[in-house]
Amino acid sequence: MKNILIGVFLILVAGALPAVAVSDGVQEDRTDSRNPHRELREAVAEIRSQYATGDRSFTAPRIAGMSSNMRLGIILGGSWHQAREEAAGAAIMAVTPGSPAEEAGLMAGDVVISFNGEPLFEQGLELPVASMKASQRLAELARDLENGDAVVLEYIRDGSTHQADLVAREIDFGPMLGKLPDHEDLAGLYRGQLAFAHPGDGKWFLPRTWLDMELVALNPGLGEYFGVDSGVLVVRGPDDGDTLALESGDVILGIGGRQVRSPEHAMRILRSYEPDEELTVEIIRHGRSETLTGTVPSVPIQFDFEFRDAGIPADH
């Protein structure tokens, strides 16, 4: 863990100041690493305090009309953002983690120039205008997408043209959208309450023995060893077991017939189950395929996700 942290730190530093040798002082800086985090949080809190009293007239119908625009997972910039881009096109301001755009390798700063072969801007327009029109056009095209539609985007990054192949998909908002039914909740958005835990969040109906396991997604080498394409290896299993208990060395291939790609993916699938529902887990144990069968518990495990007012544990 220590080595990972130092590695993380070196990469952070290298990114921040590539021209300076940083080999000395790494140890002491590491213990300081909570301060920059706190500074970030304080700075964001200050911004909030200046802006949070603003317009709160955000209404539910607007939310309802939005979801169709999110099948790619990109946020496009306005003209002020476009102006600094060198190429005319729709500039991506942000990419949603876990979205088709992220999986296809698109990044904030990429400038999209065509959608399924259709150029997004007209020749002869000045750059800010052309870019604005391109963003609007891309937003329109994205709005019409259905789940499963294949999309080819051509984009410019660092001066050269690349291509991204995406499959449009409704992003899994989990239970979050269901938590925003009325005006009161939406008003809270502007105080930043959406972003952080509030009562009722984090209820997971997990088999009790699944807490505190350690999991790792199979890489090609491990996959070859176990003779499978994808799955999740149980690095550390639970101490005692019930019928759903996994053991160290098991490979989870699927849950309820759905292929499992990563530890997070396994958790997402598990969360979609209702209490008391029957659950099957397809695994490989000692080189043989097995299916574990059990029942989702009727009482939830409450994960209390609290992201406020505390420093990073010094050596976690």
Binding site: I11, L12, G15, A16, L17, V22, G25, D29, R34, P36, H37, E39, L40, A43, V44, E46, I47, R48, Q50, Y51, G54, M66, N69, M70, G73, I74, I75, L76, G78, S79, W80, A83, R84, M93, A94, P97, A108, S135, G174, M176, L189, Y190, G192, A197, G202, L206, W210, L215, A217, P263, M267, P297, V299, I301, Q302, F303, F305, I312, P313, H316
Partner: protein
């Protein structure tokens, strides 16, 4: 009775405001105010097309690091960018507020703040892409936390995707949310507990 600034803005923005329009036909003072508002509006539009210095992020980062005399990581750069955004916003607010022009929700200040926050968000996204920062082994609790964080970012993005062409105050707050959540996600994916992130797993049944 003179129309309020808000009513004039409605008229300026081309919406139907018969009563205000009638008043303006007879009132020089209000006509002048409307002209001023239009001037502000077009001045803002002009501003929007001026590119910010190309290497502003690098400069901020250098300054932040210079102050501390030794490199302490990207987060300082992010914090500095956000602080700068606050400073710029405060400055614009100060000068903007003193000359009789109404304070609009959308201003050069909010634009600056969004610019800086989205830069910070972009840097954090780069960290998320860096495979050497991802912890391959995750506890089930960390994996659950990642899922919860990703859900929250997805909802913030859902709203931002619709309002990214707007530069008003609520957009600033949403971008603030995004930066904080991404910061926590970077920590969670690297196998750490995010800042202030405490995971208690309480089986409710066993508590009763």
């Amino acid at each position: 009775m003179h129309p309020t600034t808000e009513e004039l803005l409605v008229l300026r923005d081309g919406e139907d405001a018969e009563e205000t329009a009638r008043h303006l036909e007879e009132c020089d003072e209000c006509r002048n105010r409307l002209e001023e508002l239009r001037a502000v509006s077009s001045a803002l539009k002009e501003l929007a097309q001026v590119p910010p210095p190309e290497d502003s992020w690098t400069e901020i980062r250098k300054r932040a690091i210079g102050k501390r005399r030794r490199p302490v990581g990207l987060q300082v750069g992010v914090a500095a960018a956000v602080l700068l955004a606050v400073a710029v916003a405060a400055m614009v607010g100060h000068f903007g507020g003193g000359n009789g022009f109404p304070e609009r929700a959308e201003s050069a200040g909010t634009r600056e703040a969004i610019e800086q926050l989205s830069s910070a968000s972009r840097e954090l996204e780069l960290l998320l892409r860096d495979s050497s920062l991802q912890s391959p082994v995750l506890s089930t609790q960390s994996a659950a936390m990642i899922v919860e964080l990703e859900d929250r970012i997805a909802v913030v993005d859902l709203i931002l995707a619709q309002s990214s062409f707007e530069q008003d105050e609520r957009t600033v707050v949403l971008w603030s949310d995004r930066v904080e959540l991404l910061d926590a996600l970077v920590a969670a994916r690297s196998g750490q507990i995010p800042i202030g992130g405490i995971v208690h797993a309480v089986n409710e049944g066993s508590q009763r």
